[in-house]
């Protein structure tokens, strides 16, 4: 069976590598890569030359703090282990894992890949420490790179042991859990003793030999000690953990490994798609994907929500118009998102409401206060303007920024796109249905944003609009909000670009701020508010 796996990996890995090599050569070009590497080396060398030895070393407690932190990471493993750190893809699962092959042979390649990445990463960090330790801490740490690599390896192996023993009653599971517990205990105990004797040794004028020896036996003693003995404990930990991991894969896979592999490969595919979409300048519909991601995570841990929704909104009755169905569809999608995503979106919407309220004040010509913090950056500057200042470029840019923030929040509230072709609905129905939930959420957010803005204004010594201009401010706010949401919806539907991508958001922000930008430049700021309503009417009427 090992021959079969070797045969498979020889061909598939080599061919994948060859394909990747050809792709890199064509897409980027090897001369470009050599050029980049050359400059990378130059920058690294010049950066290294800039690191000079400090006359007074930095505090010597840093390496001990790092050692304790790493020990805590190991302790954290004891409460984890629900999902595998390495998975098989669908082909390996059906072709290799179901065959009478040893799980260890099938898993070896993917585990070694992960080990390799960890080893290289940890060795680089350790090497960096070896370089800076003599200069910044006046410590000699020549073994930090291999020690860090071995500790990272042990961390990976213990993580797998935890998974292999997670809620598993058979002998293999029990042995895996026990091995993980013993190894973690060994890490904690050796770290504690090494830190204890190490700190005492640092403080003492002449540390005794026994204390010195114990200090070298911590997993990360290589951060402070120059003796090759510092590799002993990391080597033992990694070796024992490695053997224990091999023992968990001699006969069977962990009980939920296949099912979880199938789910995790889907999650990985989703992440890859989002990464590619992000590289292409799109946010990749992350909000819309959140519900599917939550469903897959529920399937991963076999929780409710894997096969049916946990939250539902009552659908409209059958005699309702089409736009109500579209609104229900959008609202359901928002309602079924994970709580964390909803809270994040609520925060963004409240921030956008505050910014838009401040922008509405500028439009209505109300006096306001000085800048009011991060949320109102830019807009705050605009809102500082007295009536005569409302027509300034700063005010217009503030409106632009507020509109952009509103478009960002609105994009998360428009829900999935709706292709009208083939459906007996009008563009107006689509826009109305898709934007209604966003309007309602913004209305609710305004109830929070308004008192917050009043509070912020009072704290910074400013005032909100007086009753005389309050109505104008509210009208301007509603006008700005509706214009922004409608432009965002209509433009994204017309252009085919997802509302979550930058393009429709920038267009919406620019169009909303257009009256102010143009009329201020023409020197007629008093026409801004009427022009804003005229723009809303045009956007409302145009059917796309």
């Amino acid at each position: 069976m090992t021959d079969a796996i070797s045969y498979l990996r020889r061909r598939t890995v080599w061919r994948s590598f060859h394909t990747y090599r050809v792709w890199v050569g064509r897409a980027i070009g090897w001369w470009s890569i050599i050029y980049l590497i050359f400059w990378l080396v130059v920058f690294v060398l010049s950066g290294a030359e800039m690191v000079t030895t400090l006359e007074q070393p930095l505090t010597s407690s840093v390496p001990f703090g790092v050692a304790v932190l790493v020990a805590l990471l190991f302790v954290g493993l004891l409460v984890s282990g629900r999902a595998p750190s390495v998975v098989l893809d669908r082909r390996d699962l059906f072709r290799a894992a179901l065959a009478p092959s040893r799980p260890l042979d099938v898993m070896r390649y993917r585990m070694n890949l992960r080990r390799g990445v960890l080893l290289v990463g940890a060795a680089l960090v350790g090497g960096l420490w070896s370089f800076i330790a003599p200069r910044y801490f006046h410590l000699s740490a020549p073994w930090a790179a291999p020690a860090a690599a071995l500790v990272a390896l042990a961390y990976f192996e213990i993580g797998w042991l935890r998974y292999a023993g997670y809620r598993r009653a058979d002998a293999v599971g029990t042995a895996a859990r026990q091995a993980a517990a013993w190894l973690t205990g060994a890490v904690v105990a050796s770290t504690a003793s090494a830190v204890w004797f190490g700190t005492r040794g640092t403080a003492a004028a002449a540390p005794d030999a026994g204390a010195q020896l114990i200090a070298t036996l911590g997993p990360l003693a290589a951060l402070t000690e120059a003796s090759p003995l510092v590799l002993l404990v990391p080597l033992l930990l990694a070796a024992v953990a490695h053997v224990a991991v091999a023992r968990t894969l001699l006969e069977q896979y962990p009980p939920r490994f296949a099912a979880q592999s199938l789910v995790l490969t889907q999650l990985q595919a989703m992440r890859t798609f989002q990464l590619i979409a992000g590289m292409a300048g799109m946010r990749g519909g992350r909000e819309a994907d959140a519900a599917e991601r939550a469903r897959l995570l529920a399937a991963l841990h076999d929780r409710p929500g894997a096969t049916r929704p946990r939250r539902s909104l009552k659908p409209p009755s059958l005699d309702q118009p089409a736009w109500r169905a579209i609104a229900w569809r959008t609202a359901s999608e928002i309602y079924r998102r994970p709580r964390f995503a909803q809270v994040r979106l609520a925060g963004l919407t409240i921030s956008a409401s505050m910014a838009l309220l401040a922008a509405a004040q500028v439009l209505s010509g109300a006096p306001a206060a000085p800048p009011t913090g991060a949320v109102l950056d830019g807009v705050g500057a605009a809102a500082t303007a007295p009536v005569t200042f409302a027509g300034s470029l700063v005010g217009a840019l503030g409106v632009l920024l507020a509109a952009f923030l509103t478009a960002r929040a609105g994009a998360g509230l428009l829900g999935p796109g709706l292709a009208r072709a083939g459906l007996p609905i009008s563009a107006a129905d689509r826009s109305r249905g898709r934007s209604l939930p966003a309007q309602l959420v913004f209305a609710a957010a305004t109830l929070i944003a308004f008192p917050l803005l009043v509070l912020v204004r009072s704290l910074t010594g400013g005032v909100m609009a007086d009753p005389a201009t309050l109505l104008l401010t509210v009208m301007a706010y509603v006008g700005l909000l509706l214009t922004c949401l409608l432009v965002l919806e209509k433009y994204s539907s017309w252009s085919g670009a997802a509302a979550s991508s930058w393009e429709p958001q920038v267009v919406a922000a620019l169009l909303v701020a257009l009256p102010m930008l143009v009329l201020v430049a023409l020197g007629v700021p008093s026409w801004v508010l009427p022009a804003q309503f005229l723009l809303l009417a045009i956007v409302w009427i145009v059917e796309v």
């Binding site: 079969a4 045969y7 498979l8 061909r11 699962l93 009478p100 092959s101 296949a258 076999d302």
Partner: protein, 214 residues
Amino acid sequence: MTDLNVRLGGVTIVEEVTFSLGAGDLALLIGPNGAGKSTMLRALVGLLPAGGDVEIAGRYPASSEARNTFVFVPDEPALYEDLTLAEHARFSALIYQRPESEERALAWLTTFGLASRLAEFPGTHSRGMRQKLSLALALGLEMPLTLLDEPFNGLDIEAQELLAGALTQRAKTGGAVLLTGHQRELHSLLDATVLELSEGHLSVKAPAGRSGKR
């Protein structure tokens, strides 16, 4: 298999299903879409955690002894895009430690009309051709138990008849075969015991060939 239970995300998919399959049995598992046929098969081979007692050749399905007695063909072919058809046959023979199965798999590929495509990657092939490769590998192995999930999907009429003949022959020569599918399309092809899965429960129907519907 006794009292098989499969629950996904707190929802019961298969409930207290009991049946056994012996040498020479050919069973067709039918049921409406979403009845849990694929889920049951996956639980049977250990791909999904399940409650109850499931044994293949007297062993837990995930054990290597049990895996040495069956071959499973999923509903969607699981193929390596960077192995050719011939290399798939070699790999299959190697991993199941059945050297003679390579020739048989290649013969099945020839029977399915893929002889001229042996040096090609399956990624360039249609759904039906990929399904034929998947089936040829399983048929070539001639394992004591053959489990097939919707094996007739995507096959042309000629291949469907070939497959039905092969499965019937496999049962006649002492192998056990369990496949899923839709009754209407398979009644005319197979002489199998029909197991119906509905709302998570299994019931045994009369053998299709004796029901007079052929």
